[in-house]
Symmetry: C5
Subunit: 356 residues, 5 copies
């Protein structure tokens, strides 16, 4: 869906507001906001919309927690979390700004990551980008989604069954797992795009009309939006690797490197898709030209066939008193034969030029 990918930036509404002012920047809220606190471990406890007490408790235990926030338009809820987990005002602002550029930032006691998740609306099959913000603390991860999208459902099942006390990876591994799921969604996305691209190429070759042009255009917009979402990820990942010794456990670098490889491959795919898009445009132009050529040929054939014939018939339609041919009895059939011969000759001429 082109709409979401070409989302209107409405950050301009914030002109001259003091920095850190919490204003929701994005489309109309996608769903009502909801929180869910997962206690990862043997218990697998799940709290919907936890109280302040329950949230504060997260900071004072050694268990692993995953707090999922779905819907980020509720500024008060964000402010409340900001206070409990002492998030910097700018971080709170960035979480609310769903048009933000992907980035990773280190705030001593926690790590802040914001990234785009490509998703397909199951109802309309429309494609779009959703912002996912992540806070990595010592024993918790907070994830902020724009929508109620159940994108992390299968991941939840998996992570609740892990023995977090013993694997030694800590919350860093959960962050990695979330990023891995997001990157996998990019692959699904690109596959859909590549399928469509191949249809596009066919269309450009075979029916180069305004409709096809609009489709090419829409796809071009999507490609550009995806590139803009993917490029900053390289930086994000290299920044995460650099924080290895603090919040990220040591063994996890290999896994982060693995994701970085995938991001690189995605970027290369995006680049070749971009190259191909411009090829499609060329094909479109060529096809249009070929069409013009076809039409021209038909016109030329018609004109070349009939103009000489019409001249001849017109010639013997003249009213001169002295036109001896008119009075010969075999002149008419002879003329008909001559004209037939002319037509045959011209058809041979066009055949030799391979015009039809």
């Amino acid at each position: 869906m082109a709409r979401s990918l070409r989302k209107r930036k409405s950050r301009a509404t914030k002109v001259a507001q003091p920095p850190g002012t919490l204003v929701y920047v994005g489309d109309a809220p996608l769903a009502s906001s909801q929180m869910e606190l997962l206690h990862l471990g043997t218990e697998g406890l799940r709290l919907v919309n936890p109280s302040d007490e329950q949230l504060k408790n997260v900071l004072h235990t050694h268990s692993m927690y995953w707090l999922q926030v779905r819907g980020v338009h509720d500024t008060q809820a964000i402010a409340r979390l900001g206070q409990i987990f002492s998030l910097h005002p700018l971080v709170q602002e960035d979480i609310l700004d769903t048009t933000h550029r992907p980035k990773a930032e280190d705030y001593d006691s926690y790590l802040f990551v914001t990234i785009k998740l490509p998703r397909t609306d199951p109802a309309t099959q429309a494609r779009g980008l959703e912002q996912i913000s992540l806070i990595l603390g010592s024993n918790y991860v907070i994830s902020f989604q724009e929508s109620q999208n159940a994108v992390f459902q299968s991941l939840e099942k998996r992570v609740t069954s892990i023995n977090w006390r013993n694997n030694g990876y800590g919350a860093g591994y959960l962050l990695y797992a979330v990023l891995d799921v997001i990157i996998d969604h990019y692959y699904t996305f690109y596959e859909a795009l590549q399928d469509e691209y191949e249809d596009m190429e066919m269309l450009a070759l075979e029916s180069p009309d305004t409709k096809t042009l609009q489709k090419i255009l829409a796809m071009k917009h999507e490609t550009i939006a995806l590139r803009k979402a993917l490029w900053p990820l390289r930086e994000v990942l290299s920044q995460l690797e650099r924080h290895e010794n603090k919040l990220m456990p040591k063994g996890i670098t290999l896994y982060l490197r693995d994701i970085a490889d995938h991001v690189l491959q995605l970027i290369e795919t995006a680049d070749s898709l971009r190259d191909l898009m411009s090829v499609t445009m060329d094909i479109y132009l060529s096809s249009t030209n070929n069409r013009i050529n076809e039409v021209m040929k038909l016109l030329a054939i018609i004109a070349t066939l009939f103009m000489p014939l019409t001249f001849l018939t017109s010639l013997y339609g003249m009213n001169f008193d002295f036109m001896p041919e008119l009075h010969i009895w075999w002149a008419y059939p002879a003329l008909l034969c001559l004209m037939l011969g002319l037509v045959a000759g011209m058809i041979i001429f066009f055949r030799r030029r391979k015009w039809f």
Copy 2:
């Protein structure tokens, strides 16, 4: 408005002048020059066109000041400020040169920043770039605007209510706030551009005539001008971050990094806009070709329909003595039927080729 964005560089008038010669470089002055001195703090004092004494006083107190200069064509006023605040001749020259490239320069006792502000003329809706120069001293900021534009009005209200003595950010925070307002204006600008861009795309698809071409062209000029204004900002911001320990207080780096993020996002938006502009040009060309194709088809249809018919009628307009068909009573209606059949056949032929 293309005019302002394609402003004539008249720096050439300075050929062979000694460096530091104060000459105003720019369009005809936009307004008469005016100064205003804001005493930021509990008092909120405001002095219009302050005297030398009042200005010198700024340097000898510990209060926070914001000196706004509106209109930079008045070389004498700039020279006077230069003397009072001991500004380097090159800085004075750069303030007067409204075509200068955005930059930040460190002069030991003060920091000099020059930057472009995108603004829309409220009367004509014309868009343009205005130069803003900023001097950051230990306890003051001087801002130089080209016009009387009240761009900082809402900011003034906010900063006069801050308790400057206690927040510990000092003048560096004021500089940041001014930059933040300017960056926010870029967002407003880009939104307007993107809206126009979408209209442009529509126009290129639907009415590819010379008027549309001129609009595309004007927008291309604007995009190039904006890119030129935005690119150097990256350097400006990284330079400001480097000066953290001197005039910039420590906690402010996070805020500067935030602006730098926005600048990066703006540059990426500018780049994708540029990509899209060239797509628009391609669409325009394709649409023109499609138009030619349409016209050609009409011509071919007309010629293919009427040429054979005219040949036939012309054939029986010949004056040969011996043309037996002419004397058969059903020949005329038969010919009419034949011609109707021909027309029907050709219409089927064109339908199958999907020509109409």
Copy 3:
């Protein structure tokens, strides 16, 4: 063959699987999996589908071994090798993912390299890319191929005759030899591409129709796929050079540098091929235009020759009572002469404009 080069990425099937899950990612398996263990040395022993015992033995001797695995769709076989040679789960995953980006990774006790081998199907002459993964241990190399392709046959003969005990190069030299063979295949590939490219250029010049456009397109896809396979090789080689002192013997750097030179040359060739592809597109467009021009000229010639003539004959076909010319006996031959003169004049006119 465009099919293999535009292989559908089905990595997306792995969404939300835990990392290290062994899933085969690729086309339908090309052949049944097969293992062969070569004892390099004086003996030249060859074991087909060796037992676990025989494989474990490799790790406890000082002889040189080459384990060839043909067909990588068998996840159990990979897992078994992974256990015996203690390969990291991510390495096992990468071996199974035949769409992986070329890379080299250092895992303390072994080196992992994955690379693309260009091959031509001998039956269909279709071109494609096959993934080759390599594990370099202290005294062994494991190579994983997608197919039963006997690409290393001549290399086997050569390496079994080397006296591995004395040359001091160790397994690193075998890795180098395998890479060298692969790079040589790229040359064969590019030669075929360049030959085809020259045919393409001819076609674009001489028969610019939709068929040619499709061929250009297919070749463009191949060029992009090859570029994507080649680019990461630079990095792979520089990484191998860096590991000189561990698994790579000292004297081998010169040989690796030699390969790096070839890769650079291949990349430059790929880049110029890419430049040329866009030239071909331009030629194609120009040729289409030239065609249109030719057709237009014919049409213009026909119309210019016959329209005036038909007008004249039509003129004397009018039925006015008073047309004195009609009654002059030499009027008809005179008109015929006039018409001949007109035709001659127009032919001279077109000749001078070099229209035919």
Copy 4:
């Protein structure tokens, strides 16, 4: 003027000459060579064509000197100066090669700078690039010009009135002043180019013929030549800044940085001009297409209007014996009315399609 900017490189005449061979490389000498020695200081002494004694004197005093050499085709004069000021043979060669790439080189006791000056021939208004070479010694600057161009006249007046003994800048300041004048000339040049560019855009839109194409082409050549002259200046200036502590006095860095800013701005202007040039080409192509479209429309209108009419008239020109319509008295005026109706209908059809 395109001639000078596309100056034939005749360096090829030097093939296999030993390096340091003094051969003049350039167009036919622009003027007879002339030297002038300015004693900068209170005296303001000026010696035309000074003797060897007078030149050697320069090296043994502490006064500031500016030796201007106008016309560099005289190899003997250059060799003579080379001997007196002990210039390296390669420097002498570079001074004579007026096609040399701009550069700055450090030769221990002096600094060598070669740079292009854009100039406009006052007689023919032709634009071209002239090579300026500069030698900076401890207390002198030697400037080599290709022509008698009085480009430094106003600078001379200024520098002779400076009190060189006390300002502490030394010869480095004179070098800076010369560079500043040259950079200012680039601004004048670009202004002229930009004016012309706007005319070009108009022409491309309104009269896309071969003449306009040639003008666009000539301008493209100029833009490329200017870019080639400007790009190396960045490097030249950063090299000069690095030599601050030797021949360049300390305070001058600020001034050099100022020039560097201007060079950066010029390069950016050159880049956007280059972008715009390719836009102009697109406009030109579009305009041509629009023209074709216009002509096609006229043709289609004419054919659509007259072909059906001519068919009808031709129909009733047939000579069948039995055509009852021919004998009805109101058939002729009825046919005329029918034809009028047809024409009216078609005109409405074209109006609706907005064809005229």
Copy 5:
């Protein structure tokens, strides 16, 4: 000549050969191989096809030697030299591979440089690239040429007259001199290319037919081949400069820097030539469009002039019984006048549209 510049790479024949296998890679040998040993010094001794003894002698004296090998297809001769001068097998392989990428490599006791020499076949005026390999030892230079080309003749004269004992430059200076000659040949080449380019531009403007397209294409291929030969030279030269202290004497860096400057200038020229080539393509396309436009105009003029006239004549050729105009005696001349008036009117219409 396009043939040589687009030389078929036949390196692929080496697939799976052990590295260091001496196989000649190149076109059919250009000439029979020949060796010449020059004793540089006061004597100027010249030995044609020296014996092993004479060659080994080179290594044991302190005189300066230049060994020229013309024709590199003779693998035995190369192997023999390789043994005498103890050249690494990979070096021998690279000398035989005439398609090798330019490079410089340091082998402790000698330096290996391979580079392309642009040459013009004096008989056919065909242009091509010839590979020159150079070995720099402590007191000798070995040069390998593909052909019998006497490209170094004038250099030989010069270097035999130098007093090698005293100038202190050693063999490094000879290497420099050879490189200088090669670079000078690039200038000659580019001059020829630039001349041809200007002709090309003319052709593209004035006769945009398939022949011109083929010429543009051939030139494009040449430009790409030259760029590929030039780019690696930057690296080669920076590598030579780094070896200053070993085989290269100290004072020679200045000379190498001089060559590096020229290489930079050549690359910039190549880049602008490349820019211009794409401009030529645009011009070609525009010219074709202009042609189409011209033809269309002629067609439109012809149709617009004759269609209305033919309609009128056809009108009065109808056979209605009641057409009163037919019986008026002045109707015929009146109609003729009307038609003349129509033609005049239409001619005025076309004039105003500036169609002819």
